[in-house]
């Protein structure tokens, strides 16, 4: 009826075929309490589920030993490796310098992908206008002015789009097989020079060769084919 099925309660062999108490079979024996396999199984499942929930909770609440910064630090070989993998030719990879981010700064929107890696550096003194850091296989820096190199084997260039009222431009770290661009946009004022120095100090360049050695020693894997 309407998709729901009725049942005929014939139940062959069951108590249903008897009509009064006198002809009913004896009540089924009391089951052994707590000994039924189904119950043990349920407890096992419950215990496993609880363990899983605990492990998940540890992960999600950050009680594990893994650091929670989204952008890898220069000593984190495995996390750094994914940046290196995004541009297999790059001889350097950008990372957060060992000294870490200065107070008031945070690194967000870490996005490693095949073809390049991007992330943002946000300062609470320059809200809404983060420094955009991008690692790519190449970049166009022809108009930019050479600057003192930020690492051995790296050529650094600077291009200003504007000096006043906004201090905006792009810094280029060019090295064999890759390029890191830093797009900044600060309000010209007493803070912008200090802010420039802070983010430049916060972002380091880690040599790929060193990363290869780290991965070989720590995980026993070769970074590149």
């Amino acid at each position: 009826m309407n998709g729901a099925r009725g049942i005929e309660a014939a139940l062959p062999g069951s108590r249903r075929q008897h009509d009064d108490q006198a002809t009913r079979p004896a009540a089924p024996p009391e089951p052994r309490r707590g000994a039924a396999p189904a119950r043990r199984w349920s407890r096992l499942v419950a215990a496993v589920a609880a363990t899983a929930a605990l492990v998940a909770a540890i992960f999600l609440t950050g009680c594990s030993a893994i650091p929670r910064n989204t952008v890898p630090g220069c000593g984190e070989a495995q996390r750094l490796a994914i940046i290196a993998q995004s541009v297999p030719s790059a001889s350097y990879v950008p990372c957060i310098a060992p000294a870490g981010l200065p107070p008031g700064w945070r690194a967000t929107a870490f996005d490693p992908a095949s073809g390049g890696t991007n992330f943002l550096l946000q300062s609470d003194r320059n809200p809404g206008r983060p420094v955009r850091v991008s690692l790519t296989a190449g970049c166009a820096f022809a108009r930019a002015t050479p600057e003192p190199a930020r690492a051995p084997g790296v050529r650094t260039y600077l291009w200003y789009d504007s000096i006043s009222p906004r201090f905006t431009g792009t810094l280029y770290d060019v090295f064999p097989g890759g390029c890191v661009t830093y797009s900044f946009d600060f309000v010209q004022g007493p803070d912008h020079i200090a802010l420039m120095e802070q983010w430049e100090a916060a972002v380091g360049l880690y040599p790929r060769q060193q990363l290869r050695l780290d991965l070989r020693n720590k995980l026993g894997v070769e970074l590149d084919p």
Partner: protein
């Protein structure tokens, strides 16, 4: 049928003494430790899915330990290098095309398509679970990916496109979540869903094979992604919207009804026998179309004869009288809660709209009201108690079945019926009771006598206008088969003219049950207006009141709705689904 077991009963129906009532030992009580008639059942596959999820958690924990990570990575890379020996230019092209199946556009189409279908078919429970599962799974995957921070396969050329950390493979997990959601919210259980599972397995298998070939993910990244992306939603759907309670169906039948076949049918029979001593021969759904708040059942009960043989002498082995049962489950409780919440927000404080806290409370209340109304001399079904099918989840309320009765509009309405119906309302007033759901389908007639059914919404000491509305709804029902003038004239023999005036002064669209409202609208005689003309003039009685609870609930639900929309929009933007 039609073999009365014992004479009596206010409404003239049979009285059914329990089969075991004469036993000197009484009925057998379910001892501690013995399972209930229908123990809560968790499918074996659900247990396996839970174990697989636990295994995934263990893998994730292991990958945060460097020696384990190194070991697993070496194993993964060995597999990938072996697969890489198969590489060729044509095959690479094929694999890149296969990998494109999990593209953002595929996920977008499946995601929004599923939502659109769920909205179109008003399957909001499934929609809520779908959204929660989708968001939670994506958040879990993202959180774990950041925590583990696993690199892509090393020492091998990666041929495909990738984004983000490797463990778990988020594109595969998202694809699995979308496929599981599509199957468990849109496809009816059974053959089509089973076929769908095979298709989903084939799609996921092909994508995983392609990503292994392209060396985009490690094997363990794919394994955990498939486990989490498939198992988590399946377990969530099975627990939150189980098929037996919220089946996926495209038929026009009401979805609130539970199947009484399978394990549930024998469990009901067993419970009725053990707990009420009723020897049930058959259980069948009855009058499903008229009921949404429970699953109505007709119970064919073997009657007991004087010699105790159990045979009623008709040679059929004891085919006896019928009883009426109402199966209540958690789904009905939830439905009742949502209904009351919606009524409070939309209509205000009509009367007590506090929801029941448990299914047990719901059936206790109905059983209590049946007994109270019987004691008040009302022509309601004789109560026979209720039985527990699954503790705190499923119960059956048992009552007299009005055999041989017909709905009032089909049975015909003469003066005797009109007088009896109006006297029934008078009796309710005298007893301080309101039925609250007076409509043709709840008023039966047998041998010229009015019978009242479905007392689940009844209340004791109701608000005065609610009692008045019972009178108005009864008069409207009677007028549908007669004339308002005639019904008004007969009503004045039982009620004062001011009572009738109050009844129609309180009458609004929302105070008339849906069935009666649609019949009154279709009648075109303007019954309500005519009754108001006949009765003394009285200003309308305000019934939609703004109280603190209504303001609170309305505010809270508006904010929650806005938040939910904001969260979903924000997430789909971040996830690239917009």
């Amino acid at each position: 049928m039609g073999t009365p077991i014992a004479p009596g009963g206010r409404a003239g129906g049979p009285v059914l003494p329990p089969v075991l009532a004469t036993s000197p030992l009484g009925r057998r009580r379910r001892p501690s430790g013995e399972p209930p008639p229908l123990p809560r059942h968790i499918e074996h596959s659900t247990r396996w899915y839970l174990l697989l999820l636990a295994l995934t958690a263990v893998i994730w924990a292991g990958l945060s330990i460097r020696p384990v990570l190194a070991l697993v990575t070496r194993g993964d890379l060995a597999v990938l290098h072996a697969v890489a020996t198969l590489r060729s230019t044509p095959l690479t092209k094929v694999m890149l095309d296969v990998d494109a199946v999990r593209s953002a556009w595929t996920v977008r189409v499946a995601f929004y398509g599923t939502i659109a279908v769920l909205v179109a078919f008003r399957r909001f429970q499934h929609l809520a679970v779908y959204l929660v599962v989708f968001l939670l799974t994506a958040l879990l995957d993202s959180a774990v990916a950041v925590e583990i921070g696993r690199m892509r396969p090393a020492g091998i050329q990666i041929l495909g496109h990738w984004n983000g950390y490797a463990q778990p493979s988020q594109p595969v997990a998202t694809l699995a979540v979308v496929l599981a959601g599509l199957l468990y919210t849109l496809v009816p259980a059974g053959r089509w869903r089973n076929r769908g599972k095979l298709a989903a397995a084939a799609i996921l298998g092909a994508v995983c094979a392609a990503r292994l070939y392209l060396a985009v993910d490690h094997p363990t990244d794919l394994l955990t992604a498939v486990i989490v992306g498939w198992s988590l939603p399946v377990v969530a759907y099975r627990l939150a919207v189980p098929g037996e309670v919220s089946p996926v169906s495209y038929s026009r039948e009401r979805k609130a009804h539970l199947e009484v076949g399978g394990r549930r049918g024998p469990a009901i029979v067993d419970a009725l026998d053990r707990q009420l001593g009723l020897d049930v021969i058959a259980v069948e759904p009855f009058g499903l179309a008229a009921s949404a708040g429970s699953t109505p059942l007709r119970l064919r009960v073997r009657t007991k004869t004087g010699d105790g043989s159990g045979d009623d002498g008709d040679g059929d082995g004891g085919c006896g009288a019928a009883l009426f049962g109402k199966l209540y489950a958690l789904s009905h409780l939830r439905s009742d809660r949502w209904n009351k919440l919606a009524r409070t927000v939309v209509y205000g404080r009509l009367e007590d709209e506090k929801p029941f806290s448990t299914v047990r409370r719901l059936v206790e209340y109905e059983d209590h009201m049946l007994r109270l109304m019987r004691d008040a001399g009302l022509p309601t079904p004789q109560p026979h108690g209720f039985v527990e099918i699954t503790p705190e989840r499923e119960y059956v309320v048992v009552m007299e079945f009005f055999d041989g009765s017909a709905e009032i509009l089909k049975a015909g309405v003469d003066d005797r019926v009109i007088d009896d119906a109006l006297k029934t309302v008078r009796t309710m007033w005298d007893a301080g009771v309101a039925h609250r759901d007076i409509k043709p389908s709840n008023i039966l007639v047998r041998d010229g006598r009015v019978l009242l059914i479905d007392v689940a919404f009844a209340t004791v000491r109701p608000t005065p206008w609610r009692q008045a509305v019972d009178l108005a709804n009864m008069m409207l029902t009677l007028a549908l088969a007669s004339t308002p003038e005639h019904v008004y004239e007969r009503a004045l023999r039982v009620f004062a003219a001011e009572d009738v005036a109050e009844a129609f002064a309180a009458t609004r669209s929302i105070t008339i049950p849906t069935q009666l409202r649609s019949l009154v609208r279709a009648d075109h005689r303007g019954l309500i207006g005519r009754f108001r003309q006949l009765a003394p003039s009285r200003p309308p009685i305000p019934i939609q009141l703004w109280d603190l609870r209504r303001i609170e609930l309305t505010s809270v639900w508006t904010v929650l709705l806005a938040l939910a929309v904001a969260v979903v929009v924000a997430y789909v933007r971040v996830a690239g689904l917009l």
